[in-house]
């Protein structure tokens, strides 16, 4: 009995440890994404970027964090106080929750113990991610509405309609992958793509649709209409200051990180790489490969932001409803036909 309890506690401790590590890594990557974003923007524009705080400006995120904490925390008059405070919390909470189902690697052997590098392998992992990304919009909507500011409300409304429009195409492109792999579990999907058997080879159109939708879901340029500075003075977070604004900005980078992780896992083989066994280095090779892919996609996200201009609102809706959804349905049909053809 006591042995069982000990094992149970050990497993629990392992999971807690993994969650804590994942949490810290996510926050760290989000913090350094802000730095990376500014550096990438600078390099793309022939500038230097932040280089004052520490060597190459590496301490810039810490300086930014200190600044965020030191700023005056302001709650505007006429706002819904509790919702105003709650909204950034919801946003960052939802953003952090999605990391739980992503398989970061196979198993890690540490001090003789085998640690499963995935918080939970629920058999509907991809749906879980879709569900939580669809909830992220509440943080924006509640925050925008509670601010009692018309620009914030505009931002919130834009965010919600954009999210609904692009979620559909995203889900449809994912369905094609599910038909191909026959599973909803991200772990199984990653396992099936060993070597160079990546899904993107079979699903180039689906990947393109998913990528565009991921950009839109993260409110990244060229789909950053909810927070566009030129029209909406910052959109839904116009009235936010101090660490509440910090939460919003942070959560956006977390979303970007998670989106990159999902893209890498679903379409680009996850922790697999040709001629590289994810079990090398005591299982550390898997996370290394996956993070390399994730960083590449984060870079692509930034690269796109600093290249393409923002969409106009009607163009956004046109692209979402009249281009991406029909394309996604076509992709689904083609995949279904292909699966039928090769199965029989």
């Amino acid at each position: 009995m006591s042995v069982l309890l000990f094992l149970f506690l050990g497993a629990l401790l392992q999971k807690f440890g993994l969650v804590a590590v994942l949490f810290l890594v996510t926050l760290g990557i989000a913090a350094y994404s802000t730095y990376g974003e500014r550096k990438v923007a600078a390099f793309l524009q022939d500038r230097v970027g932040p280089d004052r705080a520490g060597p190459f400006g590496l301490l810039q995120p810490i300086a930014d964090g200190v600044k965020m904490f030191m700023k005056e925390d302001f709650i505007p008059q006429g706002s819904e106080k509790w919702l105003f405070i709650l909204a950034p919390g919801i946003f960052i909470f939802v953003a952090l929750m999605t990391g739980a189902v992503i398989p970061w690697g196979t198993t890690l052997t540490l001090f003789g113990a085998n640690i499963d590098l995935q918080v939970t392998d629920i058999n509907i992992g991809i749906l879980y991610i879709l569900g939580f990304t669809s909830l992220g919009v509440y943080g924006i909507m509640i925050g925008g509405w509670a601010s009692n500011n018309k620009y914030s409300l505009y931002g919130a409304i834009r965010a919600s309609s954009q999210m609904i429009s692009y979620e559909l195409a995203m889900g449809l492109s994912v369905i094609a992958v599910v038909m191909l792999t026959g599973t909803l579990s991200l772990r199984t999907m990653a396992e099936m793509q060993s070597g160079f058997n990546w899904t993107v080879i079979y699903q180039p159109l689906g990947f393109l649709i998913f990528f565009i939708c991921a950009l839109a879901e993260c409110n990244r340029a060229p789909f950053d209409l909810p927070e566009c500075e030129t029209e909406l003075v910052g959109g839904f977070h116009t009235e936010y200051s101090s660490m509440k604004l910090g939460f919003y900005l942070f959560a956006e980078y977390i979303n970007m990180f998670i989106s990159s992780a999902v893209i890498a896992t679903v379409y680009f083989g996850g922790y697999n790489f040709p001629f590289v066994d994810p079990a090398w280095l005591g299982g550390l090779m898997g996370p290394v490969v996956l993070f390399a892919k994730i960083f590449f996609f984060i870079f692509v996200f930034m690269w796109i932001r600093w290249t393409l201009p923002r969409f106009r609102y009607d163009q956004l809706m046109h692209l979402g409803w009249k281009v991406l959804i029909p394309l996604a349905i076509l992709n689904m049909l083609l995949t279904g036909a292909g699966v039928l053809w090769f199965e029989s």
Partner: protein, 188 residues
């Protein structure tokens, strides 16, 4: 209408072809352009750490030079004030007393010498007019201030220090003016 230049471009609102309408080639082209810039050397000059050299034609805050012994070169002849198109320069001349040879080079010197930096147009005619090579425009920038009165620079701000480290190097500017004067005289 007759076009004035050949730069004008006729706008054609023609139907886009399929390849143009899917935008992807254009997007890839744009991404390629920015990627090329990614590997380009930054054009930034980290200003307080590194400064770009000024052109010899740059005309900033004036300096009243001393000679190698530390005596003021200015003799208060007033030619600079006469040459000044903005009438920014005023001075009061005084005769050198016995024992002041270390301070002033010639028998006459400027007791007060003021330039109104708000009037000055930094044309550099004063340095060309000066027969004693006493006044030069340097690469320093006139500091900003809230009070108009503070823009009238007296000798305390204009005359360079005696100590070698407080001397202001004007050799580049000096050479430039000499060349200019020579060119003018050969033309004449």
């Amino acid at each position: 209408m007759q076009p004035l230049t050949n730069r004008s471009k006729v706008i054609v609102n023609k139907e886009m072809s399929f390849m143009e309408r899917i935008y992807i080639p254009a997007i890839v082209g744009g991404m390629w352009t920015t990627l090329k810039h990614f590997f380009r050397k930054p054009a930034t000059v980290k200003y307080p750490d590194e400064q770009r050299p000024f052109a010899p034609v740059y005309r900033g805050l004036h300096v009243l030079k001393r000679d190698e012994n530390g005596a003021e070169r200015c003799t208060a002849c007033g030619l600079c004030a006469v040459a000044c198109p903005a009438e920014a320069i005023t001075m009061v001349a005084e005769e050198r007393e016995r024992g002041e040879e270390k301070l002033y080079r010639e028998e006459k010197y400027a007791a007060t010498y003021e330039i109104n930096m708000l009037r000055c147009i930094f044309c550099g005619l004063c340095e060309e007019a000066c027969p004693k090579e006493a006044i030069f425009l340097t690469d320093r920038i006139v500091p900003s201030d809230y009070v108009r009165q503070n823009f009238i620079f007296g000798k305390d701000l204009l005359v360079e220090g005696v100590e070698p480290e407080k001397r202001i190097d004007v050799t580049v500017r000096q050479k430039h003016i000499q060349e200019k004067k020579q060119a003018a005289s050969t033309q004449a």
